[in-house]
């Protein structure tokens, strides 16, 4: 069972690594952020599988932290993008 779980983790990581090609090629920032999202989710899956394989309970907390903060980069990206074009949230620099 442990071997199988480690193998599944390796497979998922490999798949998600292929998604890196999309990071490298773009053609836009949105595609790159999407690839980072995929990596985040795949990473959480890999952490869960590896943690179950080794029986170390604390890895669940690592996965919890990753899950909480996974989308922050995407939020920051969209926020910064929308600050440059009219959009949902306007920002104003007052003196």
């Amino acid at each position: 069972m442990a071997e199988f779980l480690v193998g599944a983790a390796a497979f998922i990581l490999g798949m998600v690594a292929l998604g890196l090609v999309r990071v490298l090629r773009g053609p836009g920032d949105a595609d790159r952020i999407m690839a980072a999202q995929l990596f985040g989710t795949g990473g959480i899956a890999a952490v869960l599988l590896l943690g179950t394989a080794t029986g170390e309970r604390a890895t669940l907390d690592v996965a919890l932290t990753l899950a909480l903060l996974a989308a922050f980069a995407a939020f920051a990206f969209v926020k910064a993008k929308l600050a440059q074009t009219p959009g949902e949230s306007r920002t104003a620099d007052s003196p």
């Binding site: 998922i12 998600v16 836009g28 999202q37 995929l38 795949g42 899956a45 179950t52 899950a67 939020f75």
Partner: protein
């Protein structure tokens, strides 16, 4: 009973891994950003969800199992919101339909 649980784990994890595979293929091969976003969210929801379902029998306490489900729900929440926002950015920048 143990054998049944192990079988459940193996089947669910393999199906979850397949959805990650499908998500990656979509990310690489779909023609434009919005369709790629669609592929990405499939991997998020289904791939991780099936992996979590598969790992539930392997947990040794109810609280660990609850934590697993919590992790999946959090990923769903933040993933859904981020996808919506990325789609909005794409529409503003004109690469949408």
């Amino acid at each position: 009973m143990n054998l049944l649980l192990d079988l459940w784990t193996v089947v669910a994890v393999i199906t979850g891994a397949f959805f990650f595979f499908a998500g990656t293929v979509g990310l690489l091969r779909f023609p434009d950003s919005l369709t790629r976003l669609h592929a990405l969210s499939k991997a998020d929801n289904l791939g991780l969800g099936l992996v979590v379902l598969g790992l539930l029998p392997q947990m040794d306490s109810v609280s660990a199992g609850l934590k697993l489900v919590c992790i999946w729900l959090l990923v769903l929440l933040s993933g859904a919101t981020a996808s919506q926002w990325i789609a909005r950015t794409l529409r503003h920048s004109g690469s949408g339909p």
